[in-house]
Subunit: 365 residues, 2 copies
C-alpha cells in the first residue's frame, strides 16, 4: 500500500539540522557534517538513521548528557607508520570525525594503495554505509567498523550481553559497471533492539533466533527478551567480536559497561571507529579475460552472478540506490507526516519556525 | 566416545607429503611449503584440510589435470603503491604463494602499518585460517579472502550457484593475552557441499536453510539439493559477494564457470587470493583505561566478553588451540587408521614405504 511522503527540499532540511546541532553547542563544521550526513541518510532511504535519530542519539548519549564534546578538536597521534593514522577523537561529533577519517584514508590510499585510520574516544557515526558509499562514489574500495554505543548482544552460547550490535560496512566503486556502488552494511546482531521493542509494543512474537531471556535461553516472547543473538550463530559472533577486538587494540574499554555509568569510574565508555580504504588500482592485476578493463570485468562478474536464473536477486546497495533515485526524481528528501512532526520538535527546541506539511509537495510511494 | 589416533611424528609426515608433491613435479620449495602447511593443519586439528585433502585437490583441480603449474615462478607486477603488491600467481602451488604473500604483507605492515597483496591466477590455499594464525602468532592482525575453486552457492533469493563458498579468515595476536590467537575462519555458505554429500550417503535429511533444489526452492532432501545457501541470508550473501568483488577487481573471471571447462575458452577459471596485515602498533591509541598496556587491554576486554555468566562460551580459535595442545602433548600429528590408509595410497603413488599403523604410538582422544 503506497504511503504519502512530503518532499522536503534538501536545503531546508540541512538548515534545520544544522541549527539543531548549533543550538546544542556544536561547532559550525560539526553541524555542517551532521547535516550533510543526515541529509545523505534520508536521500538514500535510511530512515532508521536520519536527522531525527541523529539528534535523538545526541540526547541519549551525547551532548545532552555531557558525554560527547561539541567543538572538540581531533588529536592526531604520532605514528611511525606512513599508511596508518591514529586519532584521539575526543568525543567530537561522530559524523565530522568519520568524514574526515574517510578523506584521510582516501589520501593515504592514493599514495600507498591502502590507508587506515583508527579513532579512540569516538562517539556514534550512525550509518557506516554512508561513509563507505561516499568513498566508493569517489572510486575507492572502502570499509569501516565500530563498536556500538551499548552492549546488547550475547556471545554465541552465552546469556549476558557483553558485545555491541557492532556493524561492518563495505563498499565497492561499482557505479560505472552497474550504475550504483555495492554497499554491504549491517549489524552483527540478528535484528536491532528497536525491532524487538516495536514487536513488544504491538504484542507480537519475535522470530526464532533473535533473542535470549535473562538465563540465555532462546525466546520468542518480546517481554522476556533480555538480549539479542548474533546473526548466523558462531559466524556472526565472530564478526561482532572483530569490532570488539579492533576496539580493544585501539583503546576501547570493557564492552559490558560501554555507554553506561556502571562499574569502575576509571574505565572508558567510548565507542571506537576503524576506517580503511583501498585504491582499486592497487589490486589491479591487469590480466582480465577477453581484454576487459577492470570496470568491464567487474560488470561481467556481477552480470554472471545475477544471471542464469538469478535475475531477481538484489545486490546490496540496490535498495539505497532505488531510494536515491526517488529522492532525485522528486527533487527532495521524502518524509512521512510523523517524521515532519518529529522535525518540528527539533525546530521548537532551537527556536526555528515549524514546517507546515502543507507547504511541501507530496508523493505516493 | 573416544577415538583411537595414531601419533605420526611430524618429520615422518612432512617427508611423505614433500615426496608426494615432488613426485607430481612441484619444486622443492613448493613441496616444502605444501608439507609445512599440511602439517600445520593436522597439528591444529583441521582434518578437512590436511595432507590427504591437499593432494586430492591437486588431483581434481591441480597438476593432475594440468591446471596448476608445478615450479611456476610468481610474477610481481609493477605497482605505484608502496604498501600494496600485485602478483600474478601463475598457478604456482597455493600454499607456497600464500606463505610468501603473508610474509610480504608483514614486511609492508612493519613499514607502513598496513600492507596488502593481491594474487591473480591463484590456485587453492586450503585453510585460510592457517596463514592468518601464523601471522597472528608473529604478532600481527591478519586477514585473507579468496574465491573458491568452483561455484556452489546461490545468491540470496536465487536458484543457480554463481558464487563460491568464498571463505574469510581473520586472526588477532591475542596469544599473550589469552594463550592463543583468536582465529575467525569460515566459508560463507551455511555448510560445505561435502557435508551435504555425506548426509546423502547416509540417507539423512539436511537442516533447513542449507540448500536449494534446481528451481531455487529450499529443500532438506539431500537428493534434491542442487546448490548451497549463504549463511545468515542477505548478510552471508554480502560476505560471499565481497570475495567475488575483490576477485573481479584483481583479475578473476566469470564465477559460474570458475574451476570448470565450460563456456568461452578465453575466459579465466582461476581463483584469486587477497591478503592483508596490520601492525598492532599502527592502531594503538595508547590511551587504555587504568593504565593498561595494549595487551592487557585486549585481555581485559576478552575477559569482560566471556564474563558475567558467559564463561562457557568459546572463542574462535579455541578449538584449534585445543587441538594444537593435544598434538604437543602427544608429540606428533594425530591421525585415524582410515587416514593412515589414505596416506599409504600417497606413499604408494610416490614409491615410498607404507606406514604401518603398529609402528606409531596411539592416543584415545
Amino acid at each position: 500500500m503506497p504511503e504519502t511522503y512530503h518532499i522536503v527540499p534538501r536545503e531546508k532540511h540541512d538548515a534545520l539540522v544544522t541549527k539543531a546541532y548549533l543550538a546544542r553547542g556544536y561547532a559550525p563544521e560539526e553541524a555542517a557534517a551532521g547535516a550533510r550526513f543526515c541529509s545523505s541518510a534520508s536521500y538514500y532511504g535510511i530512515r532508521t538513521h536520519n536527522g531525527i535519530k541523529a539528534l535523538h542519539l545526541d540526547e541519549l548519549f551525547g551532548s545532552k548528557v555531557g558525554r560527547w564534546k561539541p567543538g572538540a578538536e581531533i588529536e592526531k597521534l604520532p605514528s611511525r607508520f606512513a599508511a596508518a593514522e591514529i586519532w584521539n577523537g575526543r568525543f567530537k561529533l561522530g559524523q565530522a570525525v568519520a568524514y574526515e577519517a574517510m578523506d584521510t584514508c582516501m589520501k593515504l590510499a592514493d599514495k600507498f594503495g591502502v590507508g587506515i585510520v583508527s579513532v579512540d574516544n569516538a562517539t556514534h557515526y550512525l550509518w557506516g554505509g554512508g561513509y563507505v558509499m561516499e568513498a566508493a562514489l569517489k572510486g575507492y574500495i572502502a570499509y569501516t567498523n565500530c563498536t556500538s554505543a551499548t552492549s546488547e548482544v550475547v556471545p554465541f552460547g552465552g546469556r549476558t550481553p557483553t558485545m555491541g550490535t557492532n556493524p561492518h560496512s563495505w563498499a565497492f566503486p561499482t557505479q560505472d559497471a552497474i550504475g550504483f556502488p555495492i554497499v554491504i552494511d549491517w549489524a552483527t546482531s540478528t535484528v536491532a533492539m528497536g525491532r524487538v521493542q516495536q514487536l513488544k509494543r504491538e504484542g507480537r512474537p519475535l522470530a526464532p533466533g533473535w533473542a535470549v531471556d535473562a538465563e540465555g535461553n532462546p525466546t520468542t516472547d518480546p517481554n522476556k527478551a533480555a538480549a539479542l543473538l548474533p546473526f548466523g550463530a558462531h559466524k556472526g559472533y565472530g564478526l561482532g567480536l572483530i569490532d570488539e577486538l579492533y576496539a580493544a587494540y585501539i583503546g576501547g574499554g570493557l564492552p559490558q559497561i560501554r555507554g553506561t555509568a556502571l562499574g569502575d569510574p576509571k574505565e572508558k565508555r567510548a565507542s571506537i571507529f576503524f576506517f580503511q580504504v583501498i585504491h582499486p588500482d592497487a589490486v589491479n592485476g591487469n590480466g582480465f579475460a577477453n581484454n576487459r578493463t577492470q570496470t568491464q570485468n567487474v560488470k561481467a562478474v556481477i552480470a554472471d552472478i545475477l544471471g542464469h536464473g538469478n535475475e531477481k536477486c538484489l545486490l546490496p546497495g540496490q535498495p539505497e540506490a532505488n531510494s536515491g533515485a526517488l529522492s532525485k526524481k522528486y527533487g527532495g528528501l521524502l518524509f512521512t507526516k510523523a517524521e515532519i512532526e518529529e522535525f518540528n520538535h527539533l525546530a521548537a527546541e532551537c527556536g526555528q519556525t515549524a514546517w507546515n506539511p502543507a507547504e511541501f509537495k507530496t508523493a505516493e510511494v
